[in-house]
């Protein structure tokens, strides 16, 4: 091992030479090398690593990183109409403030005695999500919506003892890729056709595919293409009649105006809480959830940690404890059909703050304003010669498909022109759904003002010329 010269770093208190010497003396050794006696010499690195820096002072570090980040253009600077699973919504200042609190930011696995506040915030997140979903059992966060979906499909397989899952064909390709990878061992996944006209599920096809080998039917409200299933209750009923479990993926921010999934018969709900107060972070912001009825049949198959509120044994207080910890991969290990680990609890705390601020009225208003603004955007875009908006006529929430076939231009060309106007145009669907031609998925939320939408329409008018 090479010898380090005096190196004192502000993050390392005992790098102060005098302290280090004193501690070595306590151990009766001359050099730290001696403590590494179990590592064979030939496995030890004989040289200094070749790494950037060090940028030891904060100004140097900040200059270095900010110099690199300067090449980014954020959705604060440009007008953004991209969604497709990661959405730009208004973020209350309080969300950032609370998840920036060092107590939450730097906590980890401590239990209820030391971290009661963390568990209470998590419980409140679960509780408020439960109110929106109409469900009593809500998981601790999963990695993301796709992970929640994958685990839910596997749960359904174990609950029903069946191996086939039917997934709505409009599922995002990346989500499907993730589910296919994850469910490969236990389940076969088949896609239910959807209408290229409405974007909604082909119910006749569903009827034909349903049989006594189907573990679950998965669909989305709204789906990847922005369209909700008007016959949700029928889909759930059809699944139930076949002895299958219905799983619905929902956009959490829509639930102030859209029915709770439980109300139309969904057995399991999955989705993402990023839309509830978390920044997009290049997609880093996603946070998944799984919810269902609070029955042992379901509870026993959750892969996630589950935390219950509970009275202290002295009876005078309440705390929080793990429900059936032995169910998880931490205990099941090599027998575990799924696994968990560190996921995204900070995002759950963030969503708790968000929902507490919004309240029922805020959730209703945000849902309504999104619907109105999206409809206005469609109307403005539809006025532009050559543009078809919406290209799918099923009921939409915040996203809608725009078709550019009659402009003679590709989405890529149009988005390049929009970029010149400081606009991130919709997500290009042309390679994913070639049969839909030159189409893009646009997302409009409460943050888009009339002026923003008008600016998009004006820019598109020029871009398609």
């Amino acid at each position: 091992m090479y010898q380090l010269e005096n190196y004192v770093h502000p993050y390392i208190p005992n790098s102060a030479p005098a302290v280090e010497r004193k501690m070595l003396q306590e151990l009766g050794v001359e050099r730290i090398d001696e403590l590494y006696d179990l590592i064979p010499e030939d496995l030890k690195l004989k040289r200094r690593l070749n790494l950037p820096g060090p940028f030891l002072s904060e100004p140097e570090l900040k200059r270095h990183i900010n110099g690199i980040l300067r090449a980014n253009v954020s959705c604060e600077e440009y007008l953004n109409f991209l969604g497709a699973g990661c959405w730009q919504h208004a973020i209350p200042a309080l969300c950032d403030e609370i998840i920036g609190r060092a107590e939450f930011l730097t906590a980890y696995c401590g239990d209820t005695y030391s971290d009661k506040g963390k568990y209470q915030a998590l419980f409140e997140y679960q509780s408020m999500l439960g109110e929106l979903l109409g469900m009593e059992l809500v998981s601790c966060p999963t990695y993301d919506w796709s992970c929640a979906l994958s685990s839910a499909v596997m749960m359904a397989g174990r609950i029903t003892g069946r191996k086939k899952a039917l997934l709505v064909g409009s599922i995002a390709p990346e989500r499907l890729s993730q589910a296919r990878n994850f469910c490969r061992r236990a389940m076969t996944l088949e896609l239910i056709p959807f209408s290229r006209e409405t974007g909604a599920m082909d119910l006749k096809a569903l009827e034909e595919m349903l049989g006594n080998d189907v573990a679950c039917v998965y669909y989305e409200n709204p789906n990847f293409l922005g369209v909700v299933e008007p016959e949700s209750a029928s889909i759930c009923a059809a699944a139930k009649a076949a002895g299958a479990i219905s799983i619905v993926g929902v956009d959490a921010i829509s639930l102030g105006v859209y029915s709770a999934p439980a109300a139309y018969g969904a057995d399991i709900a999955v989705g993402d809480s990023q839309c509830l107060g978390s920044h997009m972070q290049s997609g880093g912001g996603v946070i998944g959830f799984i919810a269902s009825r609070d029955e042992d049949l379901y509870c026993a198959e959750y892969p996630t940690r589950l935390y219950s509120i509970a009275p202290g044994i002295r009876g005078e207080t309440f705390g929080f404890g793990q429900c059936t910890h032995e169910r998880t991969s931490y205990v099941m290990r090599e027998h575990s059909p799924d696994f968990i680990g560190t996921s995204k609890w900070l995002g759950a705390i963030c969503a708790a703050v968000y929902l507490a601020l919004m309240g029922p009225q805020g959730m209703r208003e945000v849902g309504e304003t999104i619907l109105k603004r999206r409809a206005y955007a469609e109307k403005r875009l539809a006025e532009i010669p050559g543009i078809c908006a919406p290209a799918l006529c099923g009921n939409r929430f915040k996203e809608f498909v725009v078709n550019f076939d009659n402009t003679g231009k590709t989405v890529a060309q149009i988005n390049a022109r929009l970029l010149d106007h400081g606009i991130f145009g919709g997500y290009d669907l042309s390679s994913i759904y070639p049969e839909m031609g030159q189409s893009a998925l646009y997302c409009v939320t409460e943050i888009h003002s009339k002026a923003d939408i008008d600016q998009l329409a004006d820019a598109l008018k020029e871009a398609v010329k």
Binding site: L129, S282, G284, T317, H325, F424
Partner: protein, 521 residues
């Protein structure tokens, strides 16, 4: 004796559950008003009748200062790493998360970026990911990394998928069906390959704390697809036969994946490459200074050697010498593991941490974490009733140590779990006993990372010494713990698990128990 010891009092706000605090009509935040022309559009008409919400969700109605105060109180009732010397959470690498990195990640050019923006507008992010990959390649000796996994367990799963894909590509998938791991590797090293479809075989430690070469030989066969192993294991012991293990697996055509979630004790000292590993993973939220976030955001960075790159999840970051890009076109890729490309701010914080430390800083991190641990270990073993969990070959551990208080338990009836509750009465985080399987009685696993000063460690030891004295003199104090914490023990196996009583949501609680009187907090 440290005089601070008895004076700790946690903040105790008796904070009610949010749902009970509602005050009808109060508003916490307002939604931007729709302009007249937009407002005239009907929202309701756009929702199919069967999907229109008819009930009002029972969310609380509260003004902004009320919500602020509530969550501030909850934060004060949480013992984050920054608040206390968190030596307790062994295997978790609870280290200082530099504040400057939080400032960097709050910038809209990190926070408010969309993953599908044109790559020309995210060159900064892609460069940072590229540079981080270069750093981790150097630190591990691997040839390529993905940052897509959202945590360590997902990285282990990714590596299991790559092992499967490798054998499939070689036409050996039917033969290569078994993964070998060790009982003291993280539980995900067993669970994730099982999820992936492998049969998992576990090796148990000998008296000296790690499995023997003979034990490995006994289970290796043509069916062996690979080895997935932590080293040093959760016990803080480095298995000196690592290279032999790897060679044996390679001799039957298997791959070796190194779980380096916690690489804190060997940064710049030993690498996956020299030990012969084909894959590895680092937890960026552990070793590389990104905060743990109350249990995430996290990032498991999976690394592979040349010859396995084609199996990585898509997209991968590319660089042609001028421009950074994202390549989705890897025909042999295992596909997507997590949405988009992973937890980008965690990557940026980790790059910033590496850049702030430099090569010498990484090495210093390892050295001081090992020095701290051996200093603490020596002192712990001097306390009556506490001892090392294993009869180790060397007097030294790496960055963490597993202890046992079995002797204390036999003499006093006080268990490790009792002590775990008790130390929170002294302003310390409840400690990690052991992952499953629990192989030594009354285990305690501690890890004093480089973040903690000698005084922090001395305080920690003083607390244990006092607990030991109490245990031998008046054990009830420990058995009834916690005394000063916010809540007494809860019944996890009964109340929290029984369908009739458990409640993961408020609505479940109210249905099962009615509206409670929580006036005492």
């Amino acid at each position: 004796m440290n005089t601070r010891i008895k004076e700790f009092q946690p903040a105790k706000w008796n904070e009610p559950i949010l749902m009970t605090m509602t005050s009808p009509g109060e508003r916490g935040i307002l939604v931007p008003n729709a302009e007249a022309e937009i407002d005239a559009i009907s929202a309701e008409a756009q929702i199919p009748a069967g999907l229109r919400r008819t009930d009002i969700p029972a969310l609380p109605e509260l003004s902004q200062p009320q919500v602020y105060r509530h969550f501030l109180h909850l934060s004060q009732e949480t013992m984050g790493q920054a608040v206390t010397p968190d030596i307790s959470e062994g295997t978790c690498t609870m280290k200082y998360s530099p504040l400057i990195n939080e400032q960097i990640c709050a910038d809209p050019r990190v926070a408010d970026m969309h993953p599908y923006q044109p790559v020309s507008t995210m060159q900064g992010t892609l460069k940072l990911m590229w540079e981080l990959e270069e750093c981790l390649k150097e630190i591990s000796g691997m040839d390529a990394f993905t940052f897509q996994p959202g945590g360590g367990s997902q990285a282990i799963y990714t590596n299991a998928c790559i092992i499967r894909a490798f054998h499939e590509a070689n036409g050996n998938a039917d033969k290569k069906t078994e993964i070998i791991t060790t009982a003291c590797s993280h539980p995900a090293d067993a669970a994730a390959p099982n999820t992936c479809g492998f049969k998992v075989i576990q090796l148990f430690p000998e008296e000296n704390g790690y499995p023997s070469v003979e034990a490995l030989r006994a289970v290796v066969s043509d069916r062996t697809a690979g080895l997935m192993i932590t080293n040093p294991e959760d016990t803080g012991l480095y298995n000196p036969h690592m290279k032999e293990f790897v060679d044996i697996i390679h001799s039957v055509g298997g791959l070796c994946a190194y779980d380096q979630a916690n690489a804190n004790g060997i940064l710049g000292v030993a690498r996956a490459k020299e030990a012969g590993f084909d894959l590895c993973h680092f937890n960026l939220h552990k070793t590389f200074g990104s905060p743990h976030g109350s249990n995430g955001p996290a990032c498991g960075a999976s690394g592979v050697r040349e010859g396995l790159k084609q199996f990585l999840p898509v997209p991968v970051v590319t660089f042609d010498g001028k421009t950074y890009g994202l390549n989705y076109d890897l025909p042999q890729s295992i596909g997507k593991i997590r949405s988009f490309w992973g937890n980008v701010p965690v990557m940026i914080r980790s790059y910033a941490w590496i850049a702030a430390m430099g090569a010498d800083g990484l090495r210093k991190t390892a050295e001081i974490s090992v020095l701290n641990n051996n200093y603490m270990t020596k002192k712990m073993c001097q306390i009556k009733g506490f001892a090392l969990a294993y009869k180790t070959d060397s007097p030294w551990h790496l960055e963490q140590t597993r202890f046992t208080c079995e002797e204390l338990f036999q003499a006093t009836g006080v268990t490790g779990s009792d002590i775990r509750r008790r130390i929170s009465d002294y302003g310390l985080q409840s400690y990690h006993e052991s992952h499953y399987p629990v192989l030594v009685p009354n285990p305690i696993t501690l890890e004093p990372t480089e973040t903690y000063s000698k005084a922090d460690i001395d305080y920690y030891i003083d607390v244990f010494r006092e607990i030991s004295e109490d245990a031998y003199q008046h054990p009830a104090v420990i058995k009834d713990a916690p005394e000063r914490c916010l809540v007494s023990e809860v019944d996890e196996h009964g109340w929290c698990s029984d369908e009739a009583t458990r409640a993961m949501t408020w609505r479940a609680f109210v249905r099962k128990h009615g509206l409670p009187d929580f006036s005492n907090g």
